[in-house]
C-alpha cells in the first residue's frame, strides 16, 4: 500500500519558493530518507505532509486517500524542534498525546508503560519532564510519536541528542517497526544512518528533488571510482597518474580515481612499490553522492 504520496507539490513563502513540484512515494514497510542541505525544503515538505501547512499546488495522499486531517491520527510525528510540556509528568504527557490521537486514557496509560520499559525509561514516568536529561526527553518524544501505533512515522533528526547506546536502541526500534509494516520517513544529516537504514531516498535541493529512488539503484548508478588500499612499504604509488585524490593514513589509503582511471593499472603500480594487504574498489558513500549532487553546500 502506498502510505504517503506527494504529486508535484509546491509551497512558496513571501520571499522564496520552499518546495517546487516535489513528488515522492513511500510504501508500507519502507524506510525512506528525506535528505538535503539546510534550507533545502525538507521541513516544509514534512509540514505539508502533516497538514501543518497547506501546499499552494499539487496533491498529497495519505494511506491511499486524498489528504484529510482524520488520517493524521494514524501518523506519528517527531519534529526537528522538540517540544514537551515541561511542568507535566511524563506519564500524563504521554497519555495526553495518546488521547489526542484517539486512544482511551487507560489504553494510552498501558501503552505508555510498555513503551517506557521498551525504551528503558520506566523510572522516568512519574517525573516532570523538566527533571529529565535532553536524551531522556528525546526518548519521551519518540514514544509520544509512536504510542498510538501509527501506520506512518515521520521523524525529523530522530537521533539528535542521543548518546551512541540510545541511538542504537532507537535504530533497533525503527527497524522493528519497519519489519512490522510501518512506513517510516526520516530526515537527517547523518548520512551513515540513512545509508544503513533506508531503502529509498529523496535528495532535495532548493525545493526540488535532485536525486530520488531506491538506495541500491542510486549507488549502483554512480561509478565505482574509490579505492581503499592497505599496504606496507613505499607510498610512491599514490602519485600515480590514475589517481585524482588520495589520503594516506599510515598504511591505509583512500583514493579517488580520475575519470576513466584504471584500477588494474593502479594495483600493478602499488604491488610494485609496496606489500598490499587489501585493495578494494568500493562504491561511493551516500555522503559523497550527497556532496557531489548538491555541490558541497550541505552540512553533512
Amino acid at each position: 500500500m502506498t502510505v504517503v504520496e506527494l504529486e508535484a507539490v509546491t509551497k512558496a513563502y513571501e520571499s522564496k519558493v520552499a518546495v517546487k513540484e516535489l513528488s515522492l512515494k513511500v510504501e508500507a514497510g519502507q524506510m525512506f530518507g528525506l535528505l538535503g542541505p539546510n534550507g533545502a525544503g525538507k521541513t516544509s515538505t514534512i509540514r505539508m505532509m502533516m497538514g501543518i501547512t497547506i501546499p499552494d499546488s499539487g496533491r498529497i495522499r495519505l494511506f491511499d486517500e486524498p489528504f484529510e486531517r482524520k488520517a493524521l491520527e494514524r501518523v506519528g510525528y517527531l519534529p526537528e524542534e522538540r517540544g514537551l510540556y515541561k511542568k507535566m509528568k511524563v506519564v500524563d504527557q504521554l497519555v495526553f498525546f495518546g488521547r489526542l490521537h484517539g486512544l482511551e486514557a487507560d489504553e494510552a496509560r498501558k501503552r505508555a508503560k510498555a513503551w517506557a520499559e521498551r525504551m528503558e525509561i520506566a523510572d522516568a514516568l512519574d517525573k516532570k519532564t523538566e527533571e529529565l536529561s535532553k536524551g531522556m526527553q528525546q526518548k519521551i518524544q519518540f514514544i509520544a510519536s509512536l504510542l498510538h501505533d501509527p501506520g506512518l512515522i515521520v521523524m525529523d533528526e530522530p537521533f539528535s541528542g542521543l548518546d551512541p547506546v540510545n541511538a542504537v536502541l532507537v535504530e533497533k526500534t525503527l527497524l522493528e517497526l519497519k519489519a512490522g509494516g510501518k512506513a517510516i520517513i526520516f530526515s537527517t544529516h547523518r548520512m551513515d544512518q540513512v545509508e544503513k537504514l533506508c531503502d529509498s531516498i529523496c535528495l532535495v535541493d532548493n525545493g526540488r528533488a535532485v536525486l530520488a529512488g531506491r538506495m541500491r539503484e542510486i549507488k549502483a548508478a554512480y561509478e565505482r571510482n574509490r579505492v581503499v588500499v592497505e599496504f606496507e612499504g613505499s607510498a610512491e604509488f599514490l602519485k600515480s597518474e590514475e589517481i585524482a585524490e588520495a589520503k594516506n593514513f599510515s598504511g591505509h589509503a583512500e583514493i579517488r580515481l580520475k575519470e576513466h582511471g584504471n584500477a588494474q593499472k593502479l594495483l600493478q603500480e602499488a604491488s610494485a612499490a609496496a606489500t598490499i594487504y587489501r585493495f578494494e574498489l568500493v562504491e561511493p558513500s551516500l555522503e559523497e553522492i550527497f556532496i557531489q549532487t548538491v555541490g558541497g553546500k550541505g552540512n553533512a
Partner: protein, 415 residues
C-alpha cells in the same frame, strides 16, 4: 470538540496546580480577611485612650464642649475641664502636653466682644482628626450658648443642635423600596470593578504568556500535527477561562464566609451596609467571561507574533488604556449613571465590563442596555478571534524575531 476539550483540560489542570494559582487564590481572600479583621479590631476599641483637657474662662461653655466630645466618642477619650482657667494654668497644661501627660489641650479665651478665641495644643502636628472634633464641639457649644442666651429653652436648644438625619432609599423597578447608601454603593461598585479588571487582565495575560512559553519550547510543532490551530486556541482560551472562573468561585465562597462572619457583620452594619442583587451576582461572571475572552483572544494573537514576554509588554497599553479610561470616568458615572457618556462607555466593548459594574453600583441599567453591551461584546470577541486566529496560525511557526506591523497585517489576510 474532543481535541478542544483535551487541550482545555490540560491547560486547566496545569494552571490550577501551579504555585501562582495557589498563591493568588489563597493570598487574596487572606488579604481581605486581614483587612476585615483589622477593621473589626479597631471597632472593638483596641486603640489607645486619649486624655484631653478643655480649659476656658466660661465653665458652661467648657462643660458643653466636654459633653459633646464624650457623646460622639466611642468611650476612648477622657475629657477633663479646667474652668474658670487662669493664665498660670495655661503654662502648666502646655507643659503637660509637652511631657505627653496630656494628649491635647483646648484653650478657650473669652473675648470682651465677639467670639471667643480658641487654641489647640497637641504633641503631634498630624492629629487633625481630634482637632476637627474639637472644632465641631466648640462651634456647636457656642451656637447652643447663643441660642440659650437668646432665650431658647435648654431642651429645645439640645434638640436643634442634635440636628436631623436624612435617610436614603432606593425605589427599585419592581416597586420595592430598599434602604440605600451611596457611600457603600460606591465602594461596592469600585471593588467589583477592580476585581473584574484584575481577573480579566491577569487571565488574558496568562493566555498570552502560555502561548509564548509554548512557542519558545517548540511544543506547537508537535501539537499542530495532531490538532488544528483553531482547536488549540479555543482549548487554551476555554481552559484558562475555567481557571479564572474557579478562582472567582473560590473567592466568592471565601467572601461569603468572611462576610457572614461576626467580624464582618460588626464592620458592615450601618453606614457600610452593602446590598448585592442577583443581577450583579449573575452578571459578574458573565462580564468576566466576555472581558476575558476579548482581551485574551487579542493577546493570544499578538503573543503568537512575539518571541519573548518582554516583546509582548509593548502591547500592554492596548489592555491597560481601556481600564484607565473606565476608572477615570468613575466620578462621572457615579454622579449620573445614565448620562450619555456613561451609557456610551458601558456599550463600548473594551470599557463595557468595568463601566457597566460602576453603573450598576448606583442603579441597575435598563435591560436593553445590558443586552446591547453583551451583544456588542460578543460581536467584538468574534471579530478579535477572527483576527487573532490568523495571527496565531502563522505566528506560532515563525521563529527568530518579533513580527512587524506590516507582517501582522499580511498574516491576517492569509486565508
Amino acid at each position: 470538540m474532543h481535541n478542544i476539550a483535551l487541550i482545555a483540560k490540560r491547560e486547566y489542570l496545569e494552571q490550577v496546580k501551579s504555585r501562582a494559582f495557589k498563591a493568588t487564590t489563597i493570598g487574596l481572600p487572606a488579604v481581605f480577611a486581614v483587612l476585615v479583621l483589622v477593621g473589626y479590631l479597631t471597632t472593638l476599641g483596641l486603640g489607645s485612650q486619649k486624655h484631653l483637657v478643655v480649659a476656658a474662662g466660661d465653665g458652661k461653655l467648657a462643660n458643653s464642649i466636654r459633653g459633646r466630645l464624650m457623646a460622639d466618642d466611642d468611650g476612648k477619650t477622657v475629657v477633663d475641664v479646667v474652668a474658670p482657667a487662669k493664665a498660670e494654668d495655661r503654662a502648666r497644661l502646655v507643659e503637660q502636653v509637652r511631657t505627653k501627660d496630656l494628649d491635647g489641650l483646648l484653650w478657650v479665651e473669652t473675648q470682651t466682644s465677639g467670639l471667643p478665641k480658641a487654641t489647640y495644643y497637641s504633641p503631634s502636628s498630624g492629629d487633625f482628626i481630634t482637632g476637627a472634633r474639637l472644632r465641631e464641639a466648640l462651634n456647636s457649644g457656642l451656637i447652643e450658648e447663643h441660642l440659650t442666651g437668646a432665650g431658647m429653652k435648654q431642651p429645645d436648644a439640645d434638640a436643634v443642635m442634635k440636628g436631623t438625619r436624612v435617610e436614603t432609599f432606593e425605589v427599585k423597578k419592581d416597586g420595592r423600596v430598599v434602604k440605600s447608601n451611596a457611600f457603600a454603593s460606591f465602594w461596592k461598585g469600585y471593588v467589583m470593578a477592580i476585581l473584574l479588571s484584575m481577573t480579566t487582565l491577569i487571565y488574558g495575560m496568562n493566555v498570552a504568556r502560555s502561548i509564548i512559553q509554548e512557542k519558545t519550547s517548540r511544543i506547537f510543532e508537535v501539537m499542530l500535527a495532531i490538532a488544528k490551530p483553531e482547536d488549540m486556541l479555543a482549548g487554551k482560551l476555554i481552559g484558562v477561562a475555567a481557571v479564572g472562573l474557579t478562582q472567582i468561585l473560590i473567592w466568592l465562597l471565601a467572601g461569603v464566609a468572611i462576610f457572614v462572619s461576626p467580624f464582618a457583620a460588626a464592620l458592615l452594619t450601618g453606614n457600610l451596609a452593602v446590598q448585592f442583587s442577583w443581577t450583579e451576582g449573575i452578571l459578574f461572571p458573565v462580564y468576566f467571561l466576555l472581558g476575558y475572552l476579548l482581551y485574551s483572544s487579542l493577546f493570544a494573537g499578538l503573543a503568537a507574533t512575539c518571541e519573548t514576554e518582554q516583546e509582548l509588554q509593548m502591547y500592554m497599553p492596548l489592555a491597560a488604556a481601556p481600564t484607565w479610561l473606565s476608572f477615570a470616568m468613575i466620578l462621572l458615572i457615579m454622579n449620573d449613571s445614565n448620562s450619555i457618556w456613561s451609557v456610551a462607555a458601558s456599550l463600548f466593548p473594551p470599557t463595557a465590563p468595568i463601566v457597566m459594574f460602576l453603573r450598576m453600583a448606583s442603579q441597575i441599567p435598563p435591560l436593553w442596555q445590558i443586552g446591547l453591551s453583551i451583544g456588542l461584546m460578543i460581536l467584538s470577541i468574534w471579530a478579535t478571534l477572527w483576527f487573532s486566529s490568523r495571527l496565531f496560525r502563522v505566528g506560532i511557526l515563525m521563529y527568530g524575531k518579533r513580527a512587524t506591523l506590516g507582517e501582522i497585517l499580511r498574516w491576517a489576510r492569509y486565508s
